[in-house]
Symmetry: C2
């Protein structure tokens, strides 16, 4: 069960002066600017929310700090940075009903009923994750099964695999579905007794889905609040938002304007049109005391392996007529890259297949010739790279923005899609790092959980949460613990042009840190995965505190706000 | 010739502490919270940029203010508030070539050449205001006339009346205009020797106009800077922006984020979609130390008198088959009003004709029944009101947002459009004020000049800049000088829910004021029109100073920034 969040309501307010804070008796660690580990056992935070000093046991403590906290021996480390996530996507996922843990139709019905009762303001009930196989139902569920618990408003629930949706009668009425509605090409309306049953397969799903109301601004605000809560409790203090829309940006700004933006967001616009509309003639300044900046643009060059949309040089091993397709032509890719770069925006491009990575590396080579300098070209995912291409990651200051947990989630599928002979450059963290390319780590939430401890443990083990495969999948591509930590802190900051303010706890940096029960540089992989964050601080102020934390500080930490 | 602007580059920066400022030896006046005139001869501004104290001759001065300025007997009065303008429209107007003062084709050609040379970065040269009649040319000008001075880029120049446009050959090429291009319905392509001459009449103008590039973000930023400069030099410190688009808003925010927003903007979104996208679930907070807020929505119910788009109860006197038309149905108007009101947005509706005003008054009556409270329904323009409807302005706290100069610009046309028997409720400032409705004054810039002194003089004389007609047009509708000043200060602030922070110089209000050479409560109408602003201060800091001002202050005013 999720713990209650005692301090989440603590708002950030742009008060000009906060007090000097001492947190003593901690097992502190950070990377230094050049990537070494530095340990300390007390930290002094200035009234500007920046780290003032790291103290070792014998160092003199300030006589009268405005706020003193006893860390009780807990580990204190930099807040983690997720270099690739989707903030609003996470929030909206948290706002929908999750049926993935239900073990029977009856359990699902009870979950639907309870969720609708708990959320009376929702015009539609939206959910996902059901699987009639795991219910041993022997049939698809029907509209009547939902009507029995929620009949007064539309309900629309996506199957666990995304390939079917389950509607109640109100949803079908809202979509004007009748017995005479024909299945669209590529889809199927299931029927019972000649009438639509409530199950819409593949392309038929859109018959219902397109009637689901677009979220209102207040829904977006709630989604952002929920996403921040989830991130802060996971120990994440900064995210790179990969594909910010105008609506997303306005939600970020409302939170900033209202003092409710606690997670730092480094934003990459969803395409060059959004980039120009949101940021204008160049990257925005850092806003809200370094809590928000649009620094670049996110482009998408291909799809994903699972749906065989990733663009490969040779056909899929399990679909020999298909290679996937680029989503941008050669000239489109270069034009968008130039459009962004000439106005000083950073470019981040999604590339999963080896053809996509090869083409992107060539495009970077082309564009960098006209736009030299510190551009930090980002390749997002870089999952499958042809071995002869890998060395090119070391050129032009390319950043490989990779998501360790994707490797464990995807490995069996990747083996099927690619066959045994194309795995040499798959999720090749260590080899890519060896070219001189900087590794920035993330989770791609909400595709994966934002939990950075799972990412850290995976990065240095190549094992999943169950320890499989024992010894790691292609373990030669694991990185060491310090490199794993670097990918989630210092290099993730660098990847967003933010290394001058976040990513380490060296003096002068924003005091973004977490207190927790495990030292990720020493604990066993399973202990790293089980690490419990007790407090998350951003800008020298606590923005999330685990409920029930027995605080031994003098004074009220809120006074330091 | 326009004077150079010495202090425009002074940026506003959100420094937490500015110093205490004393401006002594001024002929100060302000309205009080309840509308009385208060005079003073020194003002103390606190370090928060708010008025701390107004001093009379015998009052004790602070011993050591951080900054002291000798006002040298100048008049000091509140910065003027334009309750209805179009900020970006003004800026874009200032970025185009003005040919209205040219007296020959040769002069126009020289102006075009010089403008193109001075603005090499512009992809198109855009201008307006030419009139071949005043050049005594005896023919329309041609594309060749422009090609002779600018051939390498498109040039597109609107005639003074807006009913024709003049293109060069490059513009025609960009628009793919050839000898075989046919004139559209409602328009005419002029020809010479069977080929397009370069003149496009009425609906044909769009053949070229639709190829003019949309402004880039940097163009918008420049437009906003130019608009601010023009407003500040005119003595205007706050405007209500009537019809803010997403692009406009982003320009305002860029200026705010960058410390370049000096004019306060009270924003009304261009329709409810823009409102929801920009502000979200309700009006924004005041941003940038009260320099920007979206408080409501602008709707447009009818057109204008000149084009006979204003919606009248009876046909136009000079076009007996036409009454104009509403641009929103009864239910659309009410739905949009409800949509905004239920989320707490203020509603401002353009209504010019008597049918539009009558319908809007009825709609306010309907909507106010469900949404009581302090809504400050705004009727924009309220130019022609049927006498039996006027009393309804006194209900529901309606604000009449009127533009004095429109009356002098329109009077001959209004007489033609309406005939002698429908003028009783035309531009009826005094009668409307007499119902208890609050008058907020503005200029509708760039339709009229933003000059508020022309507006003030017109408001209490009903005469134009030439003193015509002597004694005023329907002079019984003039207001007195104090009411005129009120309409451009205190009531204009009230009309934007801003009376708690701007509009007067009473202690606690933002110190927005101007130094000038005339007392508008005493000077002759022509002296009021000729008033010269020497300095404009916003938030207790000088943001515009006329070049050549011989300052007698001690210390550098910038030190108080």
């Amino acid at each position: 069960m999720r713990t209650c969040l005692a301090a989440l309501a603590l708002a950030w307010l742009p008060t000009p002066a906060v007090a000097e804070t001492l947190i003593d008796n901690v097992d502190g660690l950070t990377l230094t600017a050049n990537g070494d580990v530095q340990r300390f056992n007390a930290i002094i935070i200035g009234d500007d929310g920046r780290v003032e000093q790291l103290l070792r046991p014998g160092d003199r403590r300030p006589d009268r700090p405005d706020f003193r906290k006893d860390g009780r021996g807990q580990v204190l480390m930099p807040g983690l940075i997720d270099a690739h996530g989707h903030v609003m996507g996470l929030g909206f996922q948290l706002m929908t009903l999750d049926l993935s843990q239900t073990r029977s139709l009856a359990e699902a019905q009870e979950a639907i009923r309870a969720y609708a009762a708990a959320n009376p303001e929702l015009p539609w009930i939206i959910g996902r994750g059901w699987n009639q196989e795991s219910w041993a139902l022997g049939r698809f569920p029907t509209a009547a099964d939902i009507d029995a618990v929620v009949a007064d408003k539309p309900v629309w629930l996506e199957r666990v695999d995304g390939h079917a949706g389950w509607a109640n009668s109100a949803a079908m009425r809202a979509a004007s579905i009748t017995a005479s509605t024909r299945s669209p090409s590529g889809g199927r309306i299931e029927t019972v007794g000649g009438r639509p049953s409530g199950i819409f397969v593949d392309a038929a799903s859109d018959l219902i889905a397109r009637h689901v109301p677009q979220p209102l601004a207040r829904d977006r605000d709630r989604a952002l609040a929920l996403a921040q809560q989830r991130l802060l409790e996971s120990g994440i203090t900064t995210v790179a938002d990969m594909g910010t829309s105008m609506e997303d940006w306005q939600a970020f700004r409302r939170a900033g304007d209202g003092g409710r933006l606690n997670v730092r967001i480094i934003s990459y616009a969803a395409g060059t049109d959004a980039m120009a509309l949101i940021a204008g003639p160049g990257p925005t300044p850092w806003l809200y005391e370094d809590r928000l900046r649009m620094v670049g643009v996110k482009l998408v060059l291909d799809g994903a392996l699972g749906s065989r949309g990733a663009w490969l040089k040779a056909p899929y091993s399990d679909a020999p007529t298909i290679t996937g397709l680029p989503m941008l032509s050669q000239s489109q890719l270069r034009n968008f890259m130039v459009r962004a770069t000439m106005d000083g925006f950073q470019v981040a491009v999604h590339a999963i297949g080896d053809a996509a990575n090869g083409e992107l590396l060539a495009a970077i080579d082309d564009v960098a010739a006209s736009f030299p300098g510190d551009r930090r070209w980002r390749i997002e995912h870089a999952q499958i790279v042809d071995l002869p291409d890998i060395a090119r990651f070391g050129q032009h200051g390319i950043i490989a923005s990779m998501q360790p947990v994707h490797q464990t989630s995807d490995r069996l599928m990747a083996e099927a899609r690619l066959g045994p002979d194309r795995l040499g450059g798959a999720y090749a963290w260590r080899t890519i790092a060896g070219t001189g390319s900087r590794l920035a780590f993330g989770s791609d939430f909400p595709v994966e959980s934002p939990d950075p401890f799972a990412g850290l443990a995976t990065a240095f083990t190549r094992e999943d949460a169950q320890g499989q495969p024992f010894g790691g999948w292609r373990p030669e591509e694991a990185v060491n613990r310090i490199a794993a930590l670097d990918g989630f802190t210092r290099s993730a900051a660098y990847a967003g042009f933010a290394e001058d303010r976040i990513g380490t706890l060296m003096p002068g940096m924003r005091a973004d840190f977490i207190l927790l029960d495990k030292d990720v540089t020493l604990a066993s992989p399973s202990d790293v995965r089980g690490a419990r964050v007790a407090e998350t601080w951003v800008g020298g102020r606590p923005v999330w505190v685990r409920s029930g934390t027995n605080d031994a500080s003098t004074g009220d930490p809120r006074e330091s706000l």
